[in-house]
């Protein structure tokens, strides 16, 4: 079963069709790189998979859950690293991480491990509002890591990272893939991203070119649609 399976997906931002009929398959253990110009719909594609943006038309399945009917269940299994940290300004780094971990039913130890892994130990007790941009990037990654998700969705994870953190990120992603987890990342830093990606798809004007895995480009039966 593919982790993500999307056919002719249309997603709207207001009245703008950010996704205009996207097809995408992602298999377990993939590290899929989404490349493409700004405004092509990469962010919306990731947010759609995460269930944050509703489908206007088309079909999308994540871990077999039909996003047209149920955008919630799949979320237990995935983590999204977006442009924002999804954290609370008045809480400290550690409190934010522990809240995210507890919400995903992970122990505090998972939060503390993520804290150390991304070298946030020194700022652990500082309020989120006082973090620098680079520290926020690392915190976003740490939140995703603390959730121990089976599907990692990353939106421009390489942007604004120093070389050390980039190496950590690459190690995390490669490690996740080797454990059978799945990674989808949208990136402009193609040199770094291509070094770790197992596949690349290009997002242009709301469509995904090469979004279907090579094995499935032949005419195939439509994905089984179990409509509840």
């Amino acid at each position: 079963m593919p982790v993500v399976s999307m056919r002719s997906a249309v997603c709207l931002l207001g009245r703008f069709p950010a996704l205009a009929g996207a097809d995408l398959d992602v298999d377990e253990g993939d590290i899929l790189l989404l490349s493409g110009p700004n405004g092509a719909g990469k962010t919306t594609l990731l947010r759609c998979v995460a269930g944050l943006v509703p489908l206007h038309s088309g079909t999308a399945f994540v871990f077999g859950h039909d996003l047209a009917f149920d955008r919630r269940t799949a979320r237990h299994e995935l983590a999204l690293v977006g442009h924002e940290t999804f954290c609370y300004d008045d809480l400290t780094v550690r409190e934010n991480l522990r809240f995210a971990a507890a919400a995903a039913r992970r122990p505090n130890a998972a939060a503390d491990a993520a804290l150390e892994r991304l070298d946030l130990g020194r700022v652990a007790d500082i309020a989120h509002s006082r973090l620098s941009a680079g520290q926020r990037r690392r915190l976003s990654l740490a939140v995703a890591l603390a959730r121990e998700a089976r599907l990692l969705l990353l939106d421009e994870p390489h942007a604004g990272l120093d070389p050390t953190t980039r190496e950590t990120l690459d190690a995390i992603l490669l490690g996740a893939a080797s454990e059978g987890r799945t990674v989808v990342l949208a990136s402009h830093e193609l040199v770094y991203a291509r070094a770790i990606a197992t596949r690349e798809a290009r997002v242009v004007a709301g469509l995904v070119q090469g979004g279907l895995a090579p094995a499935t480009t032949k005419p195939e039966p439509k994905p089984l649609e179990v409509r509840a």
Partner: protein, 244 residues
């Protein structure tokens, strides 16, 4: 309804409204106690009835929209159309109640249960209409508006009950409430009945027209959206995209 049926219905409504006006203003006699102010009753009663009917239709349409098997954009649009017409009638009802109360009760406003409940109703649905205006697309609008409409409707009996209770506990005897205690003369009853009927038909006309307007606008937006999708694809792919 077909175009002709709509026209006939609208025409009949207008004729009935005119007959109602003649009956209410000239034919029916003045009330013994209330004098000619009694004639306001012929407007006050139907507007009050329609305020409640309109919000009931809004609630019903919202429920039908929420129920997955009957979900259709039409229900959402009908809920909005009916609420808009309902707010119009509620506003008129409050105005008429006030104008009637002045000569009869001696005040512009009496904290009478019906008037107070209707005032709360007016603001509840003003809020609902404000909420409807905030959404960009019907998909975004649908759920929060439908739920808000149902909550507002469920609130009505509680408001009415508590205001009524407040009245009976604290103001017994102070409220002179002659509303339906008046001896209704035969002509008066006929006039009242006719006015309720003709105003209900007016409500149907207005709501259906408003619904039709909303549907036309929705259809235009849908076409614009399809155009936008096609343009977005065409802008980057001069050749038709080879879909795999």
């Amino acid at each position: 309804m077909s175009r002709n049926a709509r026209r006939v219905f609208g025409g009949v409504t207008l004729v009935l409204l005119a007959i109602t006006a003649v009956l209410a203003l000239w034919v029916s006699p003045a009330d013994k106690e209330q004098g000619d102010a009694m004639r306001l009753l012929y407007l006050h009663v139907p507007t009050a009835w329609l305020a409640y009917l309109a919000f009931f239709v809004t609630a019903l349409a919202s429920a039908l929209w929420l129920w997955p098997r009957t979900r259709s954009t039409t229900w959402d649009l009908l809920a909005g159309a009916s609420a808009e017409v309902g707010v119009l009638f509620t506003g008129l009802m409050l105005m008429l109640g006030s104008l009637w109360g002045r000569p009869i009760w001696g005040t512009w406003w009496e904290w009478d249960a019906r008037l107070t409940t209707t005032a709360v109703l007016f603001f509840l649905y003003l809020g609902y209409l404000a909420l409807r205006r905030t959404a960009d697309t019907s998909e975004q609008r649908g759920k929060r508006c439908a739920i808000a409409a149902l909550i507002a409707f469920a609130d009505v009996p509680i408001v009415h009950f508590s205001v009524n209770w407040w009245q009976t506990l604290h103001q017994t005897g102070t409220v002179f409430n002659p509303k339906l205690d008046v001896q209704i003369h035969g002509t008066m009853a006929v006039t009242l009945l006719l006015s309720v009927l003709s105003f209900t038909m007016l409500y149907v006309c207005l709501t259906l027209s408003r619904l039709r307007l909303a549907e036309l606008e929705e259809g235009r937006e849908q076409r614009e959206l399809e155009l936008a999708i096609a343009e977005r694809i065409a802008a980057e792919h001069p050749e038709p995209a080879v879909t795999v």
